[in-house]
Symmetry: C2
C-alpha cells in the first residue's frame, strides 16, 4: 500500500471546513478509488481561535500559508484563501516551485495569473487543479480539459453565478423588484454585503475567462471580456421576456467568430424551452457547442461549501491517482494569444424596451431610425394602458414599446438608439438585452 | 517529441468512420493536448469492399480483428464491432492480455463481462476506456470514474436511449400513437427494423448496469435490473401526465436503498419542470444525486456517429496523455457484490389509469381495494365524456379513471390492482407508471 497523500490546507472558511469533513467521511471510498489514502496533516488560516465545526487539533498549525506551502511534511497544497494577490499568489507559487501539486478554488488568481502558474506547474512537473474555481460541484473543468478532447468547440456559455440566478429566479417567481430580492438574498446569505462583484458580472467574467481558455486553447484574458450586470433588469423586462417565450439569465458567453474570440457577460434572453432556461435558483449550468455535435450541458450546484469541497476532493483524488494533465488542457507554451473580437461587432438578436412619448410620429421616428441601421423587427409590442378612457396619442403619458430584432450588430443597435434619443421621442434610457439562441 | 500513439481500429460502421475522420480533423489540437499524436495504422471490418466515405488505403487491413488486437504494430486497440460475444470479446481480451490499452463503445460486452475485462486490464496495467458505451457524446463515464470522487452517490438516473425518447417526444408533440411514430422513426433511421432491444428497455438496462457499477462501486449485474419498455404507453397517458404536471420518459434508475441497490428501467413520470423533463428527441441526460449535494445533470447527444466518435477520441487522448484509472473507478478486486433490492419493495408514487365499468359501486370498490393496501391518493380524475346526454352510471361505457398515489410500495399497488381486477369492476389491464421525483 503506498503512503497516504499528505495534504496542507490553507483557508478554513466554509469550503475549507467542508473539505476536512468530506475527506473524513469519504476515507474508505477514496482509498478504493485511488489506491492511496488522502490525509490532511497541516492547516493554515487567518484566525486560529475562530469557532469551526471540525476538530483541527490533529493537524499542525501554520500561521503563515507560504511557509505551509513549501513545508516538507506535505505532498500537496490546497489553497482556499481566495484573492488574486498575496498571500494566495505567493503560497501557490511557492508550492509549485517546491515541486508540490496544488489544488485551488481561486478563480481570481487563475483569471489574473493562470498562464504563469500553469507554466510554473509544468516546469516542476506537478498538477495544478482548479475544478472548484468554476461551477462549484459541476465537473466542467475536467470535462473541458480531458473529457471532450475530440471536439472542435465553437461556443461555451453558462450561468456561472448563483447569486444572480437566484435573484432573477426570485424576481420572476415572487414578482418583486431587483432591490427587494437583493436585500432578501443578503439576509439569507446568498448575496454579499457588497454585492457588486456578483451582480455586476465580475465574478462571472473571471470564471468565463478560465472556461474560454480551456475551450479554445487561448491565453487567459479577463480584461478582454465585455461585462454588464443585472442591476438594471426590471420586472417589466422579465414579464416581456415571458410573453415573448424567453427567460432572462446572466450568462457568460465565449464564442469563436471570424474576428476572434468574443467574450461577454450580460443579462441574456434565452428561449424558455432551452435547457439553460430551466436552471433556477443558485444552480449553475454550462453548455458547450462543438462543430457537428449537439450541445452538451452540465447542470449542478454552483456554490455552497459541500459542492465546492467535493470538487476540491475530486482534484485531490486525481493527484492521488497520479493523473496529471496540463492545467489548461494544453501546455502553457502552446496556448495561443486571445484574439479579441470587439463587442461592437457582436451579432445577434436584441430585445429593446423603451418608453415612447405619446405623441403623433413617435413610432414612425423610432421605426425610421432602426431601418436606417438595417435593423429588422421580429416583433413589436406597443401597449397603451387599458381602461383609461384616453385615446392613444393623447394621454401625454409615455408608452412602453417592446421590440425583438432579427440578427443585427451591437454597433447598429447603439447607433439607432442614440439617434432615437437625439430625436427626443423617448423618455429615459432604452433597455437593451441581447438574445442567445441555442 | 514522443512517438505517435498507433491505433488499430476494428469496426468501420458509422462510428468507426467518424473516428477516422475526427482523428484526421483534430490532429493538431490532439497533439497540443496530449503532447503526442494519435494515428490509425491498421483497421479491420467485416467487409473490405463496402463503400465508406473515408480513405482507408493508408491503413493496413486485417480480415481478423483478433489478429489485429495483438499485432505488434499497434499501441492501442479500438473495438467498435459490438455484441457481447466473439469476435468482440476475444479481440478485447487478446489486446488487454498483450498489454495494449483498449477503447470500446460496446455496452453489451461491458454489461456482461465488464468485471472480468477490468481485472484483465488491471493485471496488464493498461487502460480500458468506454466513454462511448453510455450517453454517446456526454462525458458521464469519466465524470463518475474520476470527476466526482468526493461524493457519496445515492441515486443515478437518466434518459439513456435516444430512440425511446424520440418516440415519446414525437408522440407528445404530434399527438400520434406509439406504432405510428415508431414506423416513422424506422423510416428516418432513428429506430432499428427490429426495435425491441431499444423500445423494450434492454439497451437502457445494459447502460444502467455500467453506470450503477461506477456510481456504487458494485459488480455489474444487468440481470438484476427490472426492465419494462414503452410500447404500452398511450397518448391518453401522455395527456394525463401533461395535465398533472408530469412528462413520461423512459428512465434507467439505480438507487441505494436500505435493502440494497435497486436498478430499474421503466416508463417514468417526471415533474415537468425538472431538468430531465426538458430533454426531448434523441438527446440523452443523466442525473446524479449525492449525499448533501444538489443533483448534477449532464445533457447531450446520446448517439450519432460524431458524438460517439468524439467519446472514443477522448478516451484515446487520455491514453496518449498517460492517464489510466481503474476501469470502474476502483480496482476490480474491490468492487463489492451487488446486493439487489427486489422490485416488489420499490417505494414511490404511482400513476394508475384504468377503465372503470360504468355502473354503481365501481368507484367505491376501487377506493376500498386501494385503502386495504394503505394506498393514499394525491389526486383522482374520473371523466365522463361530455355532451353525451347520458347520466353518469348509466351509459354502459367504461369510464377512464386516473389516479396519482402518494408514496407506496410496488407490492401494494400490484395487490390492490389484482383485487380490483378480480372484482370485475374494470375493463382491460390497468396502466401503471412509476413517478420519480427530483
Amino acid at each position: 500500500m503506498p503512503e497516504p497523500l499528505k495534504v496542507g490546507l490553507a483557508g478554513l472558511g466554509t469550503v475549507g471546513v467542508s473539505v476536512v469533513r468530506l475527506l473524513e467521511q469519504g476515507r474508505a471510498k477514496l482509498l478504493a478509488r485511488s489506491g492511496r489514502a488522502i490525509e490532511i496533516v497541516a492547516v493554515s488560516a487567518r484566525s486560529r481561535s475562530k469557532k469551526r465545526d471540525v476538530d483541527l487539533k490533529k493537524f499542525r498549525w501554520f500561521a503563515d500559508p507560504v511557509a505551509l506551502a513549501s513545508d516538507p511534511s506535505i505532498d500537496v497544497f490546497v489553497e482556499l484563501m481566495g484573492g488574486a494577490g498575496d498571500p494566495a499568489k505567493r503560497a501557490v507559487e511557492t508550492a509549485l516551485a517546491s515541486g508540490k501539486p496544488v489544488v485551488t478554488a481561486n478563480k481570481a488568481l487563475l483569471a489574473r495569473h493562470g498562464q504563469k502558474l500553469a507554466a510554473l506547474a509544468e516546469r516542476n512537473k506537478v498538477a495544478l487543479n482548479f475544478e472548484a474555481s468554476v461551477g462549484g460541484g459541476i465537473p466542467i473543468i475536467k470535462t473541458l480539459r480531458e473529457g471532450l478532447n475530440g471536439d472542435a468547440f465553437t461556443r461555451i456559455y453558462g450561468i456561472l453565478n448563483g447569486t444572480c440566478n437566484y435573484i432573477l429566479s426570485r424576481m420572476e417567481q415572487d414578482r418583486l423588484a431587483f432591490d427587494e430580492i437583493l436585500r432578501d438574498a443578503q439576509r439569507l446569505g446568498y448575496a454579499e454585503a457588497d454585492p457588486s462583484f456578483d451582480v455586476e458580472g465580475y465574478d462571472t467574467a473571471q470564471k468565463l475567462s478560465i472556461l474560454a481558455s480551456l475551450a479554445f486553447g487561448t491565453k487567459l484574458d479577463p480584461n478582454a471580456i465585455y461585462v454588464e450586470g443585472i442591476s438594471s433588469i426590471t420586472l417589466a423586462d422579465l414579464d416581456a421576456a415571458d410573453e415573448l417565450g424567453y427567460r432572462v439569465k446572466l450568462l457568460g458567453v465565449a464564442v469563436k467568430t471570424e474576428g476572434g474570440i468574443e467574450q461577454r457577460v450580460h443579462p441574456t434572453m434565452v428561449p424558455k424551452e432551452s435547457a439553460i432556461a430551466q436552471v433556477m435558483g443558485v444552480t449553475n449550468a454550462v453548455t458547450v457547442d462543438a462543430n457537428g455535435l449537439a450541445p452538451i450541458t452540465l447542470v449542478g450546484p454552483g456554490a455552497g461549501g459541500m459542492a465546492t469541497a467535493s470538487a476540491v476532493v475530486s482534484d485531490l483524488a486525481d493527484i492521488a491517482s497520479g493523473v496529471r494533465t496540463p492545467p489548461f488542457g494544453r501546455p502553457a507554451a502552446r496556448m495561443t494569444a486571445m484574439r479579441k473580437a470587439p463587442m461592437q461587432h457582436h451579432e445577434g438578436g436584441y430585445y429593446i424596451r423603451l418608453l415612447a412619448r405619446d405623441r403623433p410620429g413617435s413610432a414612425a421616428t423610432i421605426a425610421r431610425r432602426l431601418a436606417q441601421q438595417n435593423i429588422s423587427l421580429e416583433s413589436i409590442v406597443q401597449r397603451h394602458e387599458v381602461g383609461q378612457g384616453v385615446q392613444p396619442g393623447r394621454s401625454g403619458k409615455p408608452v412602453p414599446v417592446i421590440m425583438i430584432t432579427y440578427a443585427t450588430s451591437e454597433d447598429a443597435v447603439h447607433k439607432a438608439l442614440a439617434a432615437v434619443r437625439r430625436d427626443r421621442v423617448i423618455s429615459g434610457r432604452p433597455q437593451v438585452i441581447r438574445i442567445e439562441k441555442n
